[in-house]
Symmetry: D2
Subunit: 293 residues, 4 copies
């Protein structure tokens, strides 16, 4: 996977098709089942001559990779984003010159309307995410969710932090805590019911957010991670990143008004940004996380 | 509202504060009530000398307009976006030099989590919109929703359209119909329960979309508009604009596969764009729609 | 253009293809000439039965409208966005059932790289805009630019505004003035060299922004509008809308530091929003501005 | 940096303030000098008790981190994004409980208008990027650019790629090649004139793009990377990621028209995505790239 030009070393070669928008309708039952995915493929392998000489003999065209997404959706169906990416991985790891793969899917949620079995409204709540990565025979499966926007209107404090020359923030024992959770976890072993596991983890995250009396967003993140590990024994490790979406209590005193935790300004930028990983003992696999934000 | 500089005529003067992000928590009950708004204010009036001479004696600063949003939220509370904009209109039409006003709010939806009365998840489904506009004593109230993304996996046809030199589209008797509804309606009379009316209209739009066997997106738009007018006698007119979010059936024949309405490519651009207005007889009020996309 | 269903009146029927991304390369010379457009078409006419009955006999498919964009680009070339939209208008107004049209284009700017005649870098500075609208025999041409982001680091004051109960803003005799200009103007008569006129107006706007010592953003807007009318006799009227992109001087006093106009926080929301129209006497044509934000 | 809760291992703790928008005006000369930055800070260290117990005794508040950005901008000025991030690193690595840091800046480009020394227009062409990361005494400096949109209207071919069951793409000896370059490079040693180096590398990238007759986007990426390493001896390694922004030749044959490389449809999604790293021998430093997309 590397070549030389003069004194330079070529590495980390990847190519694929990004953001293939795939909508799969399963019409086998009275009620249609919809999978709405955004799929990205990346192949790694012996492609150096394309870079050094423009020789494409080993380069599976990204157009071919796109076609393969749609063809495999027909051949294998789409049960879950994880399973679909595994089908893609099976296909591509069997091709010549391919030594590794990286696949990603976003899945958008739709809710069936009551009128009939084939009408849907898209719920904007969170995006389900999945990744499959292979290195030779080794396969990693990760899943997650992004843009899960949560808010607590009480039950959040922040105090006891260090005060230095540049500290002006006051302490508070009651603030709004709001965030947009990005959580990604790695499954191991891979004998998982993907939909059931994802739903259980999502519920655990929501419940931990709601029930943790928060002294720091860090504490809430830890509680959410622990809840996910508790909820699903196949989760080996979980990474959570949370912006602190600041809601500032508006100072109404100049107008002769009090403001007992009622009127807030929701700020855009800057925002706090807090993250951590929680894992079972000896469970870290750094290679599984390559290229995952 | 107009001035002269040499031979030029100055008109359409407006100024205000755009996108005041206001989160209002009503903590009076066991279960907190959340209103999450994005409010824009615009004043019209006798402000010409600011333009022609930089004389700000009549210019209510946009910063003052922002402060007023937060202060009135404390003084009057927030029951609904329509009521809150009416409170703003009452305040500003009473100020000197102001002869007209234009207010807009987006309201984002949050769902209470089961764990307690103060934890919420933001549902991304559609944004509720409202406008209040005044011209002297005349007040207009409009409401709507945007980004309501709907899809039917069957029950949609498109054929019988004219074929000219540049027509290549085939006819179809079964396609995916997907759109993102923008609907705006004007209330008249104004004696309305804003939340009840909005919920009834939203339900009518969803139901009309689902139950209309569609021969054209135009037909679905008409059905949705009529359903809204049927559902709420205080709706005088409604404008609906719908992109046709194309879902193209992927041609899998080159791969030896059929595709009986199962595998689709969801396209971004270009997209169809269809719109219409439906109103009760003699109900149009063009001034009410000024500055509303 | 209107129909009846029960007691309801149908009006404002429009349909077309939005955001057709068209890149046209003129390879006739040594140096290629690039036009990069985003084109939207809308037809108005006798389409009511599509809405009321799903009868598409009069509905020129939006797919056909898209094809026409690309075909006319080949037949007529693309000299300027205005000319290209006029070619589209000529084509569509001649078709049956079409009584009016509305066309819009955005044009993105590319700069030729020095190495050869066919390599380009996209400059993100402003987007050139154009609209052509017809009502029967009447044709309107408008042009403009959006997202022209300008900043003055001095030469801007704001004081003398009214102070009421909700006013807290201090007066200033030296602030940053920053905005993102949206300007749209109407040409009349239509015997215009579109590229020359656009360049002259853009230069006039930039120069007026830079050279106006500003006592209010309103004053700068007026100066820019007057400069555009001065620069191009074929501009009949111009509308300018400018956010006040606030740059707040950071209070460094708590840290024992002064801040003599050096360190600013650039805020996102909320922002001031100021607009006005400047026109020659008796030059307003409200119909020309329908559907133009 | 890690703790235990039950059987779980806590790691990768980070917190900071994201997207501090800092505009710094240097008014010392006749012509003002503007730096427009978007700064993100992240601290790593002994913060586990905040996660496990909500004890913030070691947590430098993100608000304090924001204040520090603005205070250091006043104290040290802003000469370049790299130098400013190094100033931040010096400050924070000296604080208790901090064992590592990660800083990022985007810098937006402004061009001075001819009229005077204090008026500017923002050029949207590319965003300059920089990162400083420390691990104890070790400091890494990376720089780059993103959203550099380039296009060649000829001089690009693509053929000779493998054909399998799912390949339908035709070969071409003349296509449009368009991309949006993201390039990030690591400086080593750190004795660099940051502005001079960045300008030289930008020029090298543009020139390599323009002058490489491209048989694959891979080949162009390699040429750009080699040109950057050639241009600046302090660049130890460079990573380049390029979408293939497809411009499809429109098939005009159904309309009786030819299309000799003139009329293209610029597609959004999906897009090819190609990347690689080019480095000097023994120059890779994986830790320097942590958290850099």
């Amino acid at each position: 996977m590397s070549g030389d030009q003069g004194d330079y070393v070529l590495s980390d070669l990847q190519h694929g098709k990004a953001e293939c928008r795939l909508v799969k309708v399963d019409r086998s039952g009275e009620r249609h089942v919809l999978h709405d995915l955004n799929v990205t493929t990346q192949l790694r392998g012996d492609f150096a001559t394309a870079y050094t000489q423009g020789d494409n003999a080993h380069v599976h065209a990204t157009d071919t990779q796109k076609n393969t997404v749609y063809a495999l959706a027909r051949q294998h169906g789409v049960d879950s984003p994880e399973q679909f990416l595994l089908d893609l991985a099976d296909h591509w790891t069997a091709q010549p010159w391919v030594t590794g793969t990286w696949f990603h899917a976003e899945q958008f949620a739709w809710e069936r309307l009551p009128a009939n079995g084939h009408s849907f409204v898209r719920t904007g709540e969170a995006t389900r995410t999945a990744w499959v990565q292979t290195y030779g025979d080794q396969t990693f499966v990760l899943a997650g969710l992004s843009d899960l926007v949560l808010l607590k209107s009480t039950g959040s404090e922040f105090h006891g932090f260090p005060r230095d020359r540049f500290t002006t923030l006051g302490e508070t024992s009651d603030r709004i805590l709001a965030t947009s959770v990005s959580a990604t976890w790695r499954y191991d072993p891979l004998d998982v019911n993907w939909d059931v596991a994802h739903a259980a983890i999502r519920t655990a995250l929501l419940d931990a957010f709601a029930t943790t009396h928060s002294l720091a967003l860090q504490q809430t993140i830890h509680a959410m991670g622990a809840a996910a590990l508790d909820a699903c024994p196949e989760v080996a490790e979980i990474r959570i990143s949370c912006p602190n979406k600041h809601h500032f209590l508006v100072d109404l005193e100049p107008f002769g008004l009090d403001n007992p935790g009622e009127v807030f300004f929701a700020a855009d930028r800057p925002y706090g940004l807090i993250s951590a990983t929680l894992s079972r003992i000896d469970a870290t696999e750094p290679r599984a996380w390559a290229g995952i934000a």
